[in-house]
Subunit: 349 residues, 2 copies
């Protein structure tokens, strides 16, 4: 299927979309073509957590388009983002498909199937314009960002705002981002635009909170078409939680410094810096950073050089305080309290 | 230090044992020698779950014996047995140490430090002889098995029984086992001896239960020096649990077939056989097999070709029934109910 069909956003018209699930287009034709072209014996499929329940149906449908003796393998590894590539399965299958996330770095080994959402974003944008955006005559400049799932509607979003008299400012951000206007939980470079207000179209609060933390001078308006709400990103509650974790960690004697072994998350220099400076810091390497895995270590606090979302979103689930590298510097007194910032990643793996 | 020192069992006499923990000998001198010999820049340490809390102290003590610029990395991956090798850390460190398990296969890449227990096994063996073993005049043949942690006391155990008039039967088992008389949770080949009674000296009930299931003709006596109990391995309750899981899985339509990617656990042929025979079976590949990771798949039952201990010990923690490959054959009607057996692994990786 062509790019233009994606641009139109109606994925249900493609004849080879999954029969069992009209919400998403799994691009089975593209996968089947790769299987035939490479004369593949094995195909690996990796789904994000929210779509794992679709895996059997996707495998069934795919099997109708490929030779009977091609073995389909489904990844059982946790998958929440583009960093969660199942490299074991990737190396051991002839065709490897990662569903639901855009590539952090292009790779010939991997077929990325983005799984765009079919949700209509215009009604919630209409409400955002009415309720929260400045009147275009007052402030006509607006930044526009969204997540990978809604990227297929980006042109539509832009036109909608332009029709209402706004000048829409967008940029691609840095190498970590695939698309113009895309944000990741760990990268908001696409919001560095010449506008005092930024409209975030997408689900959840983590991305716009990160954005507002990273760009405190901007007003970040959330138009959430999934939960059907319009709000302003409010960093205050988030900041309070983070300061609480920092304060709790100030008494720590033994520090676990987590180095995440996932592709795209390894920040060796940051880990090294902490270790070189602190004899009571111990380097712990792991892929999944979970409370279960850390509870047996006798540490007083952890500093996570991997995914900032684990640190901030999942932080309260851990028995000990879990800080970002910047927060660690504050906790041990290397930096003043008011330098607390959102932890972001730049570049690719 | 020499083998004879291990044989004597008093590990506290070795001068370089961990200062913070007199229970175990971490063989820091052997590790330090390897670091010096290889001019290593990095040392990776992997501990079993029960000893992870010792990691900072072990790292501290080790640092006294190595150059200051050598970086010590601690594995944060889950570790319950010899299969749980952190291959990522192994490949990325100059010296890699795996504590607490005997090697399933020797490797130059890995320093195995067995961490023998210092617990005195003779008092509980005395009780086992008095209470449960047949009188030597009645049946003088006894098989003797233990786990890796008590291997240092094996000669002592043998002599103790011989002094009481028994003929002690032992064997090394197969390639999966390092030591004479050693059992693993997945391998009881060392109990295939010419004796109707087998004495298991060690902690927990899983190993002797597996042993009794694998050798139903033998009376398996448990002398547990950790919990200080003597009992007979009773397979009845275990069998009931397994039959309950099999019955529950009989209604399953969609099966998840788990292929474990850990070293020593991959049984590809068994997975392939199931898939070839069942269109409603889907292959799922993963390293850690946990309820969290499987809950998002829409399966009715799972068959685990990996570690049998996960299936049987942790089975009840999963939302859907979790079967061994043999139990699966019963559940789908390929084998009669009375062919239920304990799942074991033979050979190495």
């Amino acid at each position: 299927m062509s790019d233009s069909e994606y641009g139109e956003g109606d994925l249900r018209k493609t004849g080879m979309a999954l029969k069992h699930d009209r919400e998403w287009d799994y691009e089975l034709d593209r996968i089947a073509a790769a299987v035939a072209e490479r004369d593949a014996e094995t195909v690996g499929l990796q789904f994000p957590e929210g779509l794992k329940r679709r895996a059997p149906a996707v495998a069934d449908d795919l099997r109708e388009y490929i030779e009977e003796d091609v073995r389909v393998l489904i990844s059982g590894q946790p998958c929440y983002g583009a960093c969660d590539l199942d490299t074991f399965l990737m190396k051991r299958t002839d065709v490897f498909v990662h569903f639901g996330h855009s590539p952090m770095k292009e790779s010939e080994k991997i077929i990325y199937v983005p799984l765009f959402s079919n949700v209509d974003v215009l009604p919630i944008m209409e409400r955002a314009v009415e309720e929260e955006l400045a009147d275009p005559e007052e402030d006509g400049d607006v930044g526009l960002v969204t997540t990978a799932q809604h990227m297929n509607r980006f042109d539509e979003m832009r036109e909608f705002l332009e029709d209402r008299g706004y000048e829409v400012h967008t940029r691609r951000g840095d190498d970590r981002l695939t698309h113009e206007g895309q944000v990741l939980g760990c990268n908001y470079a696409s919001a560095e635009v010449d506008a005092d207000q930024v409209l975030y179209v997408g689900g959840g609060k983590f991305h716009p909170l990160g954005l507002a933390m990273e760009h405190p001078e901007k007003n970040v308006i959330i138009a959430d078409p999934v939960n059907n709400v319009v709000t302003i990103a409010d960093t205050e509650k988030f900041m309070k939680q983070r300061y609480a974790a920092v304060h709790k960690a100030m008494d720590a004697e033994k520090w676990g410094v987590i180095y995440c072994t996932k592709i795209g998350q390894g920040r060796w220099e940051q880990a090294e810096e902490i270790l070189a400076d602190n004899d009571d810091a111990y380097l712990i390497t792991m892929d999944e950073v979970t409370p279960d895995r850390l509870k047996n270590f006798d540490m007083d606090a952890f500093v996570n050089t991997g995914c900032p979302r684990i640190t901030t979103d999942d932080g309260p689930r851990f028995d000990e305080p879990m800080l970002t590298p910047g927060e660690y510097e504050i906790a041990v007194g290397n930096k003043p309290l008011d330098e607390l910032e959102f932890d972001t990643f730049h570049g690719t793996w």
